[in-house]
Amino acid sequence: MIEFDAFYFDGRSSARRPVRVRGGPGVLYVVGEGVRLEYPLSQVRVDAPMEVPQRRIALPGGGQLQTSDHAALAALFPGEHALEQSVHAFERRWIRVLAVLALLGAALWWGASDGLPLAAKLLAGWVPQRAEAAMGKGALDAVDRSWCGPTELGAERQGALRADFERAARELPGGISARLALRRCAKIGPNAFALPGGTVVVTDALARLAQNDEQLISVLAHELGHVHGRHSLRLALQSAGAAALVAALLGDAVSLAGIAVALPAALIQAGYSRDLEREADDYALARLAALGIPGERFAEMLALLEHERGGKRAAATSALDYLSTHPASAERIRRIRSGP
């Protein structure tokens, strides 16, 4: 026979009545001033174990018992809430919680550094080419709206660029079709970027900056590396995943979620872009080798770009390199010159 003190609430009013509860084999007796109740133990429901001041027993007919005698409840209902009992066993011991924390930390570290990129890569394989092309079209429209206008290069120069592009893009694996979009983008300067679906945007300034076709082809090959790896799509998927991960971790701190989520997700994101840049560099070098163009042309082109953008400040960037989406050009040039 298990006995404990409790408060009885009949469920019709919030009046609190102190009672003595006795749990015998199969029966629960509730006795107090003006209260004399008896229930089969199988018809009452105890709530799951947890570190709260009071636990509750729901009685048939809407009544309720509240008690702070956790030990008595554990003895009276040994088999109830198996799942929560094991969860509670973990929650109560620091040593177990710390072990769980270590495992969780390792899992999240792996998830953020390798798991998410891997998942994004796999998931990208499932995204139909058509959907990706639609994304790319949307992105190009956005670029045209806010950054760029039609190219001002002469027809002859345009033809030559398209021929260069054809040369670089030949031997892309089936299904991926790359297109060249020439644009005049005064706000962006000399640059090239790959959009989802295989559109490579090249700015007029970049075409003018290149000293020869081979240098230009090396940049195109780099962008085609992004196209080939479906990097834009993977990046979009990765950033969505990173945001979801951080939101899941910090979601509790609701009021600051906006800021708290944005910064770590941005940091993770920056790391991903660096990895993808390197992947595209490696692709470009392999492609250039196949075309019989020395990798040095690529290094020259990067140096030109760096100089054009005010390379004097590049030396100061190393500490903040992790925050930048492009690894500092000096580092990339070194990598390219040292060979793939």
């Binding site: 469920g11 570190e51 009071q54 620091w94 919680v97 949307g138 899941a248 770009l305 760096e306 400040r313």
Partner: protein, 360 residues
């Protein structure tokens, strides 16, 4: 356990029943305890790819409800994890539809938006009802009885005015939705009463704007000029990084006090106007205290890579509880007994089938 404070007993007050009793809201949760619950919840959520999150939510809410006590008795959370899981599936589906909507032709896009606008009040109603019915004190559950029509007017009707007025009428919408939500909540059969707060809420936002506008301008000038510098020299990664960092710091410096001020004053405004039968509420949150709370919480979370989240959450809740009290003419036990006699079992299980819970 009874922490009552006699506050209205003026010397020579003729009637004893006129005396007011003040019941502080006692919050007994501890950060180390919640840390352990949080970690186990997180781990199980990761292992089950998110499915356990519904069970985790129930555990979290049970912990905090149970540790929030008035007159010696804690609150009770009765939510069913399966209903919560259902709500999350619906929320995910809505999110997917929303992200797809941008790629649809215009007509379909607008049709979808209109459907969402009509569905939103219904979702809010079901969510309010779910939370109310699953929250109880002394075995008397809360209730929510708002109608779809009223929800549509408050949430969508006034909501439409917000973008149309360039967000100037946001406080109007906020006041209407707050009042709609509170007035249709009740404990047992007793409804909450709430006065019209539109004017007072506008005043809070006006003061906030006056308070922070100069700061905002400074922040804007600094970040824009930094951003401009980095656009001039795009390769200078340090410039981009600096503008990001400074921009965020500025955001924090401006957004936090503004946010804290509005939050604290709004909470006080709502709680101090609220009545539940003979019960009144007393909320005394200080804007500066709340700002410091948010700032220090954010700092702690950032410095510990998120491990301080449980501490921050417990701390914020403890602060709010410490500034809140229930004031009763007579004992709340007497009050509830008289007022909620008619509350019976309302077939909650049947309702659970229709209900789900959206929210964090």
């Amino acid at each position: 356990m009874q922490q009552q404070v006699e506050s209205g007993a003026v010397v020579g007050a003729p009637v004893r029943a006129q005396a007011q009793r003040r019941y502080p809201v006692v919050f007994t949760a501890s950060a180390p305890e919640y840390f352990r619950i949080w970690i186990v919840n997180l781990a199980l959520t990761v292992i089950t790819l998110g499915i356990y999150s519904a069970w985790a939510k129930v555990r979290r809410k049970r912990y905090f409800y149970g540790h929030t006590l008035i007159d010696g008795d804690g609150f009770e959370y009765r939510g069913n994890p399966v209903a919560i899981l259902k709500g999350r599936v619906v929320a995910l589906a809505l999110l997917a539809i929303y992200s797809l909507a941008g790629r649809l032709p215009d007509l379909l896009h607008w049709a979808l938006l209109a459907t969402a606008a009509l569905a939103l009040p219904w979702l809010a109603l079901r969510s309010f009802a779910f939370n109310a019915r699953n929250s109880a004190w002394r075995n008397v559950a809360f209730r929510f009885d708002g109608s779809y029509r009223d929800a549509l007017i408050a949430i969508v009707g006034y909501g439409v005015l917000v973008p149309l007025s360039a967000f100037l009428l946001y406080p109007l919408w906020k006041a209407k939705t707050l009042r709609f939500a509170w007035r249709h909540h009740g404990l047992g059969t007793t409804r909450f009463a709430m006065p019209e707060i539109t004017g007072a809420l506008f005043w809070i936002y006006i003061k906030a704007a006056g308070l922070v506008l100069p700061l905002l301008i400074v922040a804007l000038v600094v970040s824009v000029s930094l951003g401009w510098l980095s656009v001039q020299r795009p390769s200078a990664a340090s410039g981009v990084a600096m503008s990001v960092i400074v921009g965020l710091a500025m955001l924090l410096a401006v957004y936090l006090p503004l946010f804290a001020y509005v939050r604290a004053r709004t909470a006080n405004l709502v709680m101090n106007g609220l009545a539940l039968g003979p019960l009144r509420f007393e909320s005394r949150q200080g804007a500066r205290e709340v700002a410091w709370l948010y700032l220090s919480n954010a700092g702690a979370i950032a410095l510990t890579l998120g491990l301080a989240v449980p501490w921050a959450v417990v701390r914020a809740m403890r602060y709010r509880a410490s500034r809140l009290a229930v004031v009763a003419s007579g004992s709340p036990a007497e009050f509830a007994a008289a007022e909620s006699e008619k509350v019976g079992a309302t077939g909650g299980e049947v309702m659970d089938l229709l209900d789900f819970d959206i929210g964090v």
